[in-house]
Subunit: 134 residues, 2 copies
């Protein structure tokens, strides 16, 4: 049972790659993830973003630098701590995120069109639960 789940988890990479192909060249998956988290959870500092992405802070730092250079997020001084900055989506970042959402939704709708809505919701819920278990 566990072995089969492990197999499916590794094989799911193909699906993720398909979704990644819908992204514009300027916005690699790592950038999209940063924008999505900031949109969902609001402004935050780098360490908090690192926790939510579950990657090393050095990786987060590079992703953030990438999206900041393109004007999709702003880094403002943290009034309470001179070592960190507050990260926040800009209007341009929000607009891009809308576009990305439309693309991935279209891709999923195209390939999952024959799924029952309840099954999609169920899968989403189970994935969220799996993630929180780790």
């Amino acid at each position: 049972m566990y072995a089969e789940l492990a197999r499916q988890l590794t094989a799911i990479g193909a699906v993720k790659r398909e979704l990644a192909r819908t992204l514009p060249p300027e916005c690699p998956p790592g950038s999209a993830a940063v924008l999505a988290v900031l949109d969902r959870h609001g402004e935050m500092r780098l360490s908090r973003l690192t926790e939510l992405l579950a990657i090393d802070i050095s990786v987060t730092s590079r992703h953030v630098a990438h999206v900041a250079e393109r004007g999709w997020i702003a880094r403002e001084a943290d009034p309470g701590d001179g070592r960190s900055r507050i990260l926040r989506l800009t209007p341009a970042g929000r607009a891009l995120l809308l576009e990305l959402g439309a693309r991935s939704t279209a891709a999923l709708k195209r390939t999952l069109g024959d799924w029952a809505a309840e099954d999609i919701t169920l899968l989403t819920t189970l994935l969220a639960r799996l993630r929180s278990s780790f």
Copy 2:
């Protein structure tokens, strides 16, 4: 609905990384995937393996070279086509696979110990279905 599924799919990378950490240094995830497919579907040529892994054939070629160098698979001449070779697990490869399965199972059991068996099966089934939809 689709957007939320897309988000969970990208976030699931953290879980995959956790599982990957259980692998021995000599056997990166790509190698493990090759061995798993050969174990599940039996001997085959590179092009077939490429289909099953859903990656580019150039990538498959490198993964296969890696596991072949370590003696985990054998590449025998294809009697029907001089351009390709038949890939098959060796006893050493099979033994390694057993070890890998034990490790990933232990890791999943540790973190998913409080899940109902039906939920694990359900998640596995839905992931398989998602993959086949793509």
